[in-house]
Amino acid sequence: MEKKVVHEELNFQRDDKMNLTMIPGKFARSMRTCLIWQFIRFVIINIKMIIVVGKSH
């Protein structure tokens, strides 16, 4: 039988605690270091943080 190994999913089997969590797949992981997407997120996070900083002073 041919195995279908999804690397990102292997940690579910490490123990029961990990088995019951959510683990990001390949796409979600790649977006975390995708330069274009992260540049957009950089702008958005900065705006959000500036709003919170503004509300706190």
Partner: protein, 489 residues
């Protein structure tokens, strides 16, 4: 001419002193008493602890900065406060002991009109046997709480990496070293930065990594966790923390009070009362924090420490310290002006003020051992409080005793926090988070205690870029370079 004495040149004290000096000008005196010659951007100690920054990159000399600002700098530690003066004078004073070479051990009484206590935490390694020696560097464990500790931590880490390269498995145990610790965020950053470095070094498969902490659930962070809007759901930080630990293959043990550390072994008690032990080859356990142990005396020399300070050594301020059950905790218990209730010319800022109670749900083991995080007071609240106190003191000096005091309640302010999960311009990640407010207000926000429009978190490279930029921005600001007042706390 009035004299403002600020004890402690950390995040809160430095903010108070520099703004007070700017607003008061040369007509009044600002004095800073702090034991170290250098200022340390503590959040970047994490990167020193994994060899990604040097001590020099996270510290700078305070003397030239204070000289530029017209602040008198006394490299000394405060020992005691006489808020009523003594038998020969009514003038309040603080007794300091110099730490600067050539004068070390000499004492002096420094008179003040206004005193701001911003002495931060005492790293209470002694609370857990084996956790550290008098110098705090740790007998069996390492620490990243100071730049020197972080340098030592990295030396030990590199030894472990070398061993793994030679084929020897290593067990990493990172977290909190006592049931009453705070600062889980720093330990969280450290474990994921180590994990990232081990992958870069090609030895991740030789490492077993475990988190041990006093949180009742992963992602509590001493704030009772937080809820965020994600994909149309409102989700607890527990889910995200567990997800990250699982993704990176880091095991976890929570609700743990580490009660003893030996060579290669940490002993702990869990919330269910059971006792256990965890082996390690490398361990960084954050010590619990206490006040720095300042004493207070009245005019006749009687010890009034218990009047001025809470039992944990932090200074009492305008909080509601009445003991009450968790269900009755309110946002209004938290201080607003940070003025000492007994002596109105005394304030406390940053970690030095005594919180009314913890933020997380109180927990103790079935044996009665308290196992819960104590409240974090991170950089942004410490800076905001320091600035509000500087404002109040300046107004009191300029407008007299009836001046309006500035307010900065942690139940009404938010905090932006970026937790590094690995350093690298293209490969780094960090969890960028904001919480609003820091202390949940269940009367105003009955569901989660916080405004979910302003409470969010996400992990990615963007967070790392922000963390790295903040490193340079805050050091630039602390050096009082042009435009420093425009950079928010």
């Amino acid at each position: 001419m009035a004299r403002v004495v600020v004890l402690g040149g950390g995040v809160a004290g430095h903010t108070t002193a520099t703004f007070a000096a700017k607003w008061l000008g040369s007509q009044h005196e600002v004095v800073v008493v702090t034991p170290n010659s250098k200022w340390n951007w503590i959040p970047s100690n994490i990167w020193v602890g994994v060899g990604q920054m040097t001590k020099d990159e996270v510290t700078f000399d305070l003397a030239p900065v204070y000289q530029k600002a017209g602040i008198e700098f006394k490299q000394a530690k405060a020992v005691s406060i006489n808020p009523e003066g003594n038998e020969s004078s009514n003038k309040p004073f603080v007794t300091i002991e110099y730490t600067i070479a050539g004068k070390a051990g000499q004492t002096e009484n420094v008179e003040y009109d206004y005193l701001v206590n911003a002495t931060g935490p005492k790293l209470n390694f002694a609370a857990t046997p084996g956790l550290g020696d008098a110098n705090g560097l740790g007998e069996f464990t390492v620490s990243v709480c100071t730049a020197d500790h972080a340098v030592h931590a990295n030396d030990e880490l590199q030894k472990s990496i070398e061993k793994m390269k030679k084929g020897q498995r290593q067990k990493f145990l990172i977290g909190t070293g006592h049931g009453m610790c705070t600062c889980q965020g720093a330990a969280f950053e450290y474990i994921f930065n180590i994990e990232h470095e081990l992958r870069k070094a090609g030895v991740r498969d030789m490492a077993d990594m475990k988190w041990i902490s006093n949180e009742a659930f992963l992602g509590d962070f001493g704030m009772g966790g937080l809820h965020m809007k994600v994909g149309g759901y409102v989700v607890s930080s527990k889910l995200f923390a567990e997800s990250l630990f699982s993704e990176r293959g880091v095991d976890w043990l929570i609700g743990a009070h580490v009660n003893k550390v030996e060579a290669g072994k940490a002993h702990y008690e869990l919330l269910d009362g059971s006792m256990g032990e965890e082996d390690f080859d490398f361990s960084m356990l954050i010590p619990p924090f206490a006040g720095v142990g300042l004493k207070a005396y009245n005019k006749t020399g009687e010890d009034i420490t218990a009047t001025v300070f809470a039992p944990n050594g932090f200074m009492k301020v305008d909080a509601d310290y009445t003991p009450k059950p968790y269900a009755e905790w309110k946002a209004s218990d938290w201080p607003r002006t940070y003025q000492n209730p007994s002596y109105k010319n005394m304030f406390a800022a940053g970690i030095a003020f005594a919180p009314p109670h913890i933020i997380s749900k109180p927990m103790s083991s079935v044996n009665g051992t308290p196992i819960n995080p104590t409240p974090p007071r991170t950089g942004m609240p410490s800076g905001i409080i320091g600035k509000a106190v500087a404002h109040s003191v300046c107004d009191l000096i300029k407008n007299g005793d009836k001046a309006h005091l500035h307010e900065a309640s942690m139940a009404e302010m938010g905090a932006a926090c970026v937790a590094s999960a690995g350093k690298g311009v293209f490969s780094g990640t960090a969890a960028a988070m904001t919480v609003y407010p820091v202390v949940p207000d269940f009367e105003k926000y009955p569901g989660t205690g916080r405004d979910t429009d302003y409470t969010f978190g996400e992990i990615g490279l963007a967070g790392h870029w922000i963390k790295h930029i903040l490193h340079y921005l805050f050091i630039y600001k602390a050096k009082l370079n042009p435009g420093w007042t425009l950079i928010p706390e």
